[in-house]
Subunit: 545 residues, 2 copies
């Protein structure tokens, strides 16, 4: 595939007029061809207007048609083969095996949403049957379902060039719900973005859908993103990135003349608790697993455990000492990681240095290479602190993006609970324990449940499973909207709204709400879940109140 | 019951220290005893802190326990008998029959939520079973459900002193989901609020729940409301009221250090379309029904039809002429209405006068009494305008709260669609038509679906049915969040968030997610809806990524 460096506006390529930028190979610091051109205001307006026009048609596409489209996208992405792997590796310095896994995950996500909308029950169809004989006034026929919101702007993530980028989770869920999507590519991997963007555009064409269903815009700065979030035709935003960036979008969207929802997945340190029984039984094993989890993807997972709370160090507990020592050894071992971008690279150095300079923080391991070495190379870092320092400094819950983590030592159950109560919103919390630990610390589980979107027992938070029960969310500042998830099939509901039809004739209703249930979906009829048809619907006469 | 004029903070009455105000009888303009005292900052802090403490217990109450509590509230409200009716009539000038109906609706709402949480399937429980043999990595056990958000602030509505006030829809749905509630009483009907507040407080006590589950605060101004929305312990807001008030709360909540969701139901003019077939068949009947719908509750329903779009007046169409004439006659007939508050009363006069003074607007009926007559009396008003004027003036979509409405005449199908496309977000849209009309205007239905939360065919928007399929919502500015509903059982999801448990032992899971389905609820297991137990769950070993 030839890369053009141009935004994709529906079926057209944008003119190469705007400010140019290049991808950079993080392993070498060298620029990659071709130049990418920032989209113009007019490109953004065209993309949004085309999306609004496409919405009129695409919002009414059947589940089957949307499923075929999502599967076609997956097929086209798979068809990119090694070209895509090679470009993504060059732009991210992630290993080819990881890129291949991520392509697999991306296509799996597209296909699980295809399956979801083809089956069709996701719309939460509800029917309350009428009763013309009810007194004092007849009961009307009420039927509701979820309908798409309108054009969605999706911002690509730096750390998942495929699974949270052009055809990633946000795009897949927005398209599945029936919304056109305008994607803002991440400028760390524009070539990867363009390849996938061309695949989606071709799928739109092959499926005979209106071209505005998908556009992809590039930008060297933040103007295009700001213009998208403020565009009147954009009805919702999906974002994965920094807290600062996410909060700026949240504020902008909230202050629009017509505010819109922003689903921003921002930052998290994923507190990791090791309870006494587990510590005693398998501290060394946990140290190993934790080291793998902290360093996977060069520590650039939003689920990386960034705060570790070992069991209380009561009377110089041997298991705790041994765990801390073996985890420290693993983190000290020479290791070489390449971060995704220059900005992430310098933020890592700054973050690690600032943390190391704090009072009450000791640096257990610090493998930083020369900052001006070729490429965006870093090493691991491990800090240690006491409960009192942790409780007194909220910045210790700020994410350091990269292979760094923090041990929080403490000496009593009370301190452990104090640490837990003091946590802000995170994506996940992990507890290692025996079943007895879990019984003794049931209150800890209850407390953590209010702080995070996913609780993991005896596992590791990285390596998120995509399914129906997946929750990748959590209270602010982990995300902008702790009610929802950005991963898994439940993500579709973020891009839908409830609509109710009162006393409509059967033929004028969406298929999902028609009496004989032509789509065979699950529906709530008079409060009962069923796949049956609606029987005996009395005709309700129009009547004034 | 003796009225105290004091805020209810958990089980305690607040000290009567703050600024005092009185309810006013809208029929006479006379003040009603006793004086009500504004809550202090300390009252608000105490209420919020008690709610946060109560959350730890109440968020884990069983569906059965919450159902018993909701039913107890209904029983206590019913036990207030004529005292409540008399006080509400005195504070609102609404007729006793309407107040009695509204008490019935309030209790019905509490009981339908009781039924919902007792049954328990509302939590959307999902289970994805593990597969330890999957390669390259084992599939974990993932289980998710909806859990309560935390303390909710509820702002009472002026126009529904019971059904959208202290124990109204927002409170019922927030409590049903497991959230404590701090209610800000409306100062138009503080006595009604206090009576219901005491009933709820007594229900809390009788059910052995922590006192912070419910508080009720009064205020002569807006300070208490602002303090509530900004309070760190408050996790969501329910509001019914003006667009200006709602938007101010939305902005405040969005700009908090930790933003929270606001569910504000604000304003709507509920466009009402009469298609040619219906116009011809039963124009006079529709005129009658429409007149009843515009004037019910003195025109103070958020679903009042405030913009009427009759069929195109093609070649001086006789049916249109006759409809306009008979509707005009009904609206001109002398009628006397009392509005709820002095502010609503003067806003009505201002609104009607300003609209009448606009170019391109003619006043068909104007029954305004002397503004300085005793009590908050008004009469009907009917305006008429042409499509071009309507399209050119967005303020014609502003709600005039009271018995006023606007006819928008036009002369072609194209103009009708132009009017529809130009609509902002509203709660409802109504279409009167024959089934043939509906086929011919299928595009109109599609267009209106994107503008409103509820579409009504051959009925009237006022008199909303409360059920499982009810949607009382709609895009901004009708509400702050067009994805949801504030009425009906789906309202519960506004006050809940998704949480996922990964690889937890069965005994440590919430009952809703345990293998043998002890609550007998509907669950999505591996993507299949079922009430069966989970069979054969292989044990997954902890493994690092």
């Amino acid at each position: 595939m030839t890369l053009t460096g141009r935004s994709i506006i529906g079926s057209q390529l944008a003119e190469p007029c705007g400010k140019a930028f290049h991808a950079v190979n993080p392993a070498t610091g060298q620029s990659l061809e071709p130049a990418y051109y920032s989209a113009s205001d007019s490109d953004v307006n065209q993309a949004a207007a085309a999306a609004a026009r496409a919405f009129e048609v695409y919002s009414r596409a059947t589940g089957k048609a949307k499923a075929a489209f999502l599967r076609k996208i997956a097929e086209k992405i798979e068809g990119l083969g090694d070209d895509l792997v090679n470009r993504a590796v060059a732009e991210t310095a992630l290993p080819p095996a990881r890129i291949k896994t991520e392509i697999g995950r991306t296509c799996f996500q597209l296909r699980i949403f295809a399956q979801l909308v083809e089956e069709g029950s996701w719309v939460s169809a509800r029917i309350d049957r009428p009763d013309p004989h009810r007194t004092p006034i007849p009961k009307p026929d009420m039927r509701s379902l979820e309908r798409p919101l309108g054009p969605v702007a999706v911002f690509c993530a730096s750390n998942f060039p495929l699974a949270y980028s052009v055809a990633g989770g946000d795009t897949a869920s927005a398209l599945a719900a029936g919304n056109p999507v305008v994607v803002k590519g991440h400028n760390a991997h524009p070539g990867t973005a363009e390849m996938v963007g061309q695949a989606v555009r071709d799928a739109v064409r092959d499926c005979g859908l209106p071209e505005g269903v998908f556009s992809l815009v590039f930008d060297s700065g933040i103007e295009v993103g700001v213009a998208l979030v403020n565009h009147p035709e954009i009805k919702a935003v999906g974002f994965t990135g920094s807290r600062q960036g996410g909060r700026a979008l949240m504020n902008a969207a909230a202050l629009r003349p017509v505010p819109i929802p922003v689903y921003a997945e921002m930052s998290s340190v994923n507190p990791f608790f090791i309870l006494p029984g587990a510590m005693k039984e398998r501290g060394a094993e946990i140290a190993k697993g934790l080291h793998a989890s902290v360093t996977v993807g060069a520590g650039q997972f939003c689920t990386k455990p960034g705060v570790i709370i070992p069991a209380a160090d009561v009377e110089n507990s041997a298991p705790v000492r041994e765990f801390v020592s073996s985890f420290g050894e693993l983190m000290k071992a020479p290791a070489d990681f390449t971060l995704l971008t220059e900005r992430i690279h310098s933020a890592y150095f700054d973050g690690v240095r600032a943390r190391g300079a704090k009072q009450g923080i000791s640096s257990v391991a610090q493998n930083l290479p020369e900052q001006n070495a070729a490429g965006f190379r870093v090493g691991t870092s491990l800090f240690e602190t006491e409960a009192s320092s942790f409780l007194g400094d909220a910045t210790l819950q700020d994410e350091i993006f990269g292979p760094s983590t923090l041990l929080v030592r403490h000496s009593s159950r009370e301190q452990l609970f104090e640490i837990a109560r003091n946590l802000e919103g995170h994506l996940t919390a992990t507890i290692h324990g025996t079943e007895e630990d879990l019984r003794e610390y049931a209150d800890l589980v209850a407390l953590l449940e209010s702080k995070v979107g996913r609780l993991i027992f005896n596992g590791y938070p990285t390596g998120l499973e995509v399914g129906h029960a997946t929750v990748h969310g959590g209270p602010y500042p982990a995300t902008s909207d702790g009610r929802t998830t950005s991963v898994g099939t439940q993500a579709i509901h973020r891009f839908a709204r409830l609509v109710c039809y009162q006393n409509f004739p059967d033929a004028a209703l969406p298929g999902e709400l028609q009496n004989d249930n032509p789509l065979g979906i699950w529906r709530l009829i008079d409060g009962q879940m069923t796949r049956d048809a609606v029987s005996s619907v009395p005709k309700v006469q129009a009547k004034s109140t």
